[in-house]
Amino acid sequence: MKWDISRVNVWGAEEFPHGAVIPEAGNSVYYKVSGWRSQRPCRDEEACTQCLLCWAYCPDSSVVVKNGEVVGFDYDHCKGCGICAVECPVNRKFGRSAIEMVSGGSDLPEPGLGDANGTPAGAAAAISEVG
């Protein structure tokens, strides 16, 4: 970040850019919004067909894709809106969709938490992969 806002909490009125303009692009990545979340998405890697609909629909670019495949979620910026879980199609082989919203809110899940809540197997592994 080129724009130094480390002392933003003590800035006087004249130190802010006019009209609440943010004079730098792309710095919302530094703003962590996981605290907004009441539920988080969990993905069952086995049931996931890699259709990438979750990635396409996510309004906050929080579905992480590597080498053309979904590998997990960016939990620093996922606000828990649930759109990915709604759009995730049912995998007919498994009779369920891969993404499900689970309780857990803002904190990154502890290993095994997903299982304890009856979430799809493998979800915790996918989450830990993203960290």
Binding site: V8, A13, E14, H18, G19, A20, V21, P23, E24
Partner: protein, 395 residues
């Protein structure tokens, strides 16, 4: 070389001419009586290639101001126009334009608000916008409407101001009657207004910025509002400088407050807009009869020129404030509060009374103004005391 052309036409067409000469880039606008002929004229300019601007025919005033905000944030010169219900429909966007520090210029043809429905002049619409953070200028004549419109661009876009400006004229009285005024040649007008240099343009791809950020949850909303308050307070001196520069070019000196006979006035009327002419006419006649009558016309209402008003009125024995709008349930009209408040810090008390007049275009006849001066004479002589707000000439 400055060449001026003397033209006889309506106030609205003079405003449209000033807008054309200021070379705006985007004009999102919706027609409403009595502003419509401004829109028609600008549309003609656009259709005939006399103006190189994006003319956007929007579907409402809410959209007009929204589009103006978007275009201004993009980094171009934006102008629009409205009146009455249209201004009322813009209400939420007015605050957004000033909060985002966007130097939009808007013409308002001052008109009454419904109900009952009415299309004629009063200041209810514009006074409803007095706390929006916009600068507000009033014109008495077509000449003032033209001059005010040209200076508005310079004021709005000044780097230490960066606030939207409303330039206004009284509906029908000034907007539609044919008046005589001098217009500058295009080259002089353009050189005066100059080129707009945006500070944070959305379309400046080399310096990407975000507009419209959130400043809540303990964020600096309060600090931004103070920043805005300082900008509008500081704009008064800048306005005076720009007016002085314009006056030197046009040969028409003017000021943020203009007194007539105020040097030694015993009885003074404070007025804004077209009625100032009627009041001066009566004051002139009273002067011929030996009555020391004065007139104080406020040309720039926001920022409020408190010091100039206090200075002009401090020697008067009685003052009347004429309000062309009311603040129902309050002590009087909005102009009255501010004038009276400006006089509070004087060492001696100047008696001030308030008349609400001319609502919905109700006629302001000279005998009504004579009555006001007579009341002031009675207060000055001690025959009567100051009285509560009065609806002047209402049956």
């Amino acid at each position: 070389m400055v060449t001026q052309k003397t033209v006889a036409t309506t106030g609205n067409l003079f405003v449209a001419e000033a807008i054309r000469q200021a070379l705006p880039d985007v004009i999102p606008v919706y027609p409403i009586t009595p502003q419509t002929t401004v829109v028609e004229e600008i549309a003609k300019f656009a259709a005939n290639g006399r103006i190189d601007a994006e003319y956007v025919a929007v579907e409402s005033e809410h959209s007009a101001m929204s589009a103006a905000i978007g275009a201004s944030a993009a980094g171009v010169r934006v102008v629009t126009a409205t009146a009455s219900q249209g201004l009322a429909l813009m209400w939420e966007e007015l605050y957004i334009a000033s909060g985002m520090r966007l130097p939009i210029v808007m013409f308002n043809a001052n008109r009454a608000l419904s109900a009952p429905i009415n299309i004629h002049c009063d200041h209810s619409d514009i006074m409803g916008a007095r706390d929006t953070g916009w600068l507000i200028l009033f014109a008495e004549t077509a000449q003032e409407a033209y001059d005010n419109t040209l200076v508005s661009f310079r004021i709005a876009e000044h780097p230490d101001v960066l606030l939207p400006v409303m330039t206004t004229a009284d509906g029908f009285i000034t907007t539609h009657t044919v008046d005589r005024a001098d217009t500058l040649d295009d080259e002089t007008a353009r050189a005066f207004v100059g080129k707009y240099k945006p500070t944070h343009a959305l379309l400046d791809f080399d310096n990407p910025v975000s507009h419209g950020a959130f400043a809540g949850l303990g964020g600096p909303y309060f600090e931004f509002k103070q920043q805005q308050r300082r900008a509008i307070d500081g704009s008064l001196g800048i306005i005076k400088e720009i007016i002085a520069e314009y006056s030197a070019i046009s040969g028409r000196p003017f000021d943020v407050v203009e007194g007539w006979g105020m040097e030694d006035a015993d009885v003074a009327i404070v007025v804004i807009g077209s009625t100032a002419g009627n009041v001066r006419h009566v004051a002139r006649r009273l002067r011929a009869q030996g009555i020391k009558a004065g007139v104080l016309k406020i040309r720039v209402f926001r920022p409020f020129p408190t010091a100039g008003i206090r200075d002009a009125l401090k020697g008067a024995k009685a003052v009347a404030v004429l309000d062309r709008s009311d603040s129902p349930g309050a002590e009087g009209g909005p102009l009255y509060f501010e004038v009276k408040s400006a006089l509070y810090d004087l060492d001696h008390r100047v008696p001030v009374v308030n008349y609400v007049y001319g609502l919905g275009g109700s006629d302001v006849r000279t005998e009504l103004i004579e009555r006001v001066y007579k009341d002031l004479g009675d207060i000055a002589s001690g025959a009567i005391g100051p009285f509560d707000m009065t609806y002047l000439g209402c049956r």
